[in-house]
Subunit: 230 residues, 2 copies
């Protein structure tokens, strides 16, 4: 009889990083439980991408949770504020931009933790990256370590020592090009993904927001065309 | 001209502990922003209590957020499981009971943190208690300390050193009787509150769940009648 696979909860936005993370978890042999959020994001198109990526990866289950952050919002991604365009790499090393959604990864990881505990999963996967990123505080290694420690104190499974929650961020120290290379080796179809903060209604990326620029830089560094690009 | 009051976000369930916490924050001079959740709890009656308590305390704002934990659930408070009744104090020092909602306080604090950051509030108040409680892991002092550390790493305000988030749990080391004494001194009207995990549709408490028993014990220790009691 086959051993049951261990379960993992994978945060899946529908973007390039989370799709790659899903395939990393798949390679490691986990039964995949993908979690996405409808949180009032203007780029809600990404949820259709998340569903396609989840299907392509053969997940056991894909849940989309509603958490309307607009009621407590304050970000260009959820409120009626302009998404910054055509920022330079230097701009991105400066102050935290207005696309930052307050405490977003804390909220998403908390909900992933709840689901993991219900499923009996110890491992949470998140596609954060602290290299080619927009300078968000909740994408840094020290943040991820602090959440893992919290998770081990917060849960029945952690306290009872059965399954100490682990937060896995396999992309955290990769460049965007390394992420894409990793994903291509694992069979990710990036034509299914969307990274843009401000896409057209049909999903066409704007090409000028931070997310589009970081993504374009990654494909360019590999001498590749982005299959979901302009 | 009057100095603007500092703002605090207070988690308000509508129960005895959170009502008392709200009044502690009021005494300390904060402008109060109360946050409640419709999370699929069977004791949704408590939200009507939260609204009444918020009004009585003169909060600036009371927000009820929808986060349907039933989609990822696994608790007698959200799923179709029986709430344990008539447990002894010894029962309550044993294993974590099935009324435990996975990662609930982590989810609630994460959302409170997001709102606090948007409001420009540094202080989060939560009415957890580690003495007369049901043994939930996310009510202990070490859990609260871990969340505070996470919050300071997670947020723009924390990272930029403007307003380092603080998690305040003023009841954490009080007995239930001390909590009630404190609240009465501050003018809390406990007839507006509801603690029961399994109330009748009209809000009448069951009198036998952990929450009812702990509450009854607190009033009894003070020789008082519970104004919201049976």
């Amino acid at each position: 009889m086959m051993e049951a696979k261990p379960k993992a909860v994978v945060l899946l936005s529908g973007g390039l990083d989370s799709a790659t993370t899903l395939y990393v978890a798949r390679r490691e042999g986990y039964a995949l439980h993908a979690l996405s959020f409808r949180y009032g994001q203007r780029h809600v198109y990404e949820l259709a991408c998340a569903a396609r990526v989840a299907r392509a990866a053969g997940v056991v289950q894909h849940v989309v949770l509603d958490v309307d952050l607009r009621a407590i919002g304050g970000s260009a991604l959820t409120a009626n504020l302009a998404v910054p365009k055509n920022r330079s790499a230097a701009d991105r090393t400066g102050a935290i931009p207005i696309t930052y959604v307050p405490a977003r990864n804390t909220i998403f990881l908390a909900l992933a933790l709840a689901w993991a505990e219900t499923l009996g999963a110890a491992d949470l996967f998140i596609g954060v990256n602290a290299l080619d990123y927009s300078g968000y505080p909740d994408c840094r290694p020290e943040y991820i370590a602090a959440f893992e420690r919290l998770a081990q104190l917060a849960t029945k499974a952690g306290v009872e020592g059965r399954q100490r929650p682990q937060v896995r961020a396999p992309l955290i120290r990769m460049t965007k090009a390394e992420i894409i290379r990793t994903g291509l080796d694992l069979g990710v179809d990036y034509s299914l993904t969307s990274s843009c903060y401000d896409p057209a209604p049909d999903g066409r990326p704007c090409g000028a927001c931070d997310a589009c620029q970081l993504r374009a830089g990654g494909f360019a560094a590999l001498g590749l065309r982005d299959p979901a690009g302009l």
